[in-house]
């Protein structure tokens, strides 16, 4: 599968989706003007990926800030990854938050209550 490598901007995150090298990461800020335009290609890529995922997928979320419109595409990404896990693949989420930014940590915890995926938390 062709990798996705997007460089972050002030309001969109850096995105790496690279199965060959085992790198899956979203980092930076996410409050695009048009959330659909930004996330639809990423969600489509993930839908294809979970058809034949790697044996192990560790997906890193390392965000400074994300707005309310980014919650739903994130949830959709987790639901797709949970589908792969349900089929027996090893999938986990590494959720980073800036030291002291308890709101971002709490957001991760709340996602983990909705989806059947293991979340690990680390500060940076």
């Amino acid at each position: 599968m062709e990798a996705i490598n997007l460089k972050g901007t002030y309001d969109t995150p850096s995105v790496t989706l690279d199965p060959e090298n085992g790198n899956f990461e979203i980092s930076g800020r996410s409050y695009p003007e048009d959330t659909a335009e930004f996330y639809i290609p990423i969600l489509e890529w993930l839908s294809n990926y979970i058809q034949h995922p790697n044996e192990h997928t560790k997906f890193v979320f390392k965000l400074d800030y994300f707005n309310s419109s980014s919650y739903k595409p994130f949830l959709d990404m987790f639901l797709k990854l949970a589908e792969a896990k349900e089929k027996g693949h090893d999938v986990s989420i590494e959720w980073f938050f800036k030291e002291g930014d308890w709101d971002i940590k709490e957001a991760g915890e709340e996602f983990s209550e909705i989806v059947e995926l293991p979340f690990e938390y680390s500060s940076f």
Binding site: Y10, Y39, Y65, S68, S69, P73, E113
Partner: protein, 187 residues
């Protein structure tokens, strides 16, 4: 500049000083401007030393409110795509007050008022559950943004927000919304 203008300008400055105004913008909002405003606010000398949670809550509230103006604000002068509004940031008793104002269609006021009152009436657990419920049950890329946005603002401000609508024409009302974020010393 005529003498009277200088005097007026000086009066504004003194009023801003007296009211601890840290930042003010009145004009047409767009995404690029929001980026610049967030960068400016986070870099203000009064804000820079604050704990990360305070800074993130402030920029989070500013982004939610201003993106909301870009999506739902109304231009009553010429009906163009411009999204006029006003943002005022001030410090009062160690807390940051973020005031946002823009015009909305009066026929949307009662729905907005009900929704804000509903969110305002919830305790922290209620807000958390409501957030989860809205998140799960709204469709992807549907019109859920403003709903989750207000819940997020309520949570970031510990439900310290207030609002008002005033009719400004036959069809439009001015919506003013004030959110208070605890400064580090009050956390």
């Amino acid at each position: 500049m005529p003498e009277q203008d200088h005097q007026e300008f000086n009066t504004w400055f003194e009023s801003f000083q007296a009211n601890n105004i840290l930042f003010m913008f009145k004009g047409d909002f767009n995404q690029e401007l929001i980026n610049s405003i967030v960068l400016l606010i986070e870099g203000l000398p009064e804000v820079e030393h604050e704990e990360i949670i305070v800074k993130k809550r402030m920029s989070g509230v500013v982004v939610e409110c201003l993106q909301n103006i870009c999506r739902h604000g109304e231009n009553i002068i010429d009906g163009s795509e411009l999204k006029p509004g006003m943002l005022l940031l001030r410090k009062k008793n160690g807390d940051y007050l973020i005031s946002i104002g823009n015009n909305v269609k009066t026929n949307k006021v009662s729905k907005l008022r009900d929704y804000i009152a509903k969110v305002n009436g919830m305790d922290n657990t209620g807000l958390k559950d409501f957030h989860k419920d809205v998140l799960i049950n709204t469709e992807l890329f549907g019109k859920y943004g403003a709903d989750l946005g207000l819940i997020n603002i309520a949570r970031k401000s510990n439900r310290n927000f207030d609002f008002d609508f005033r009719e400004v024409s036959d069809t439009h009302s001015f919506f003013s919304f004030e959110v208070s974020i605890h400064g580090s010393e009050n956390n």
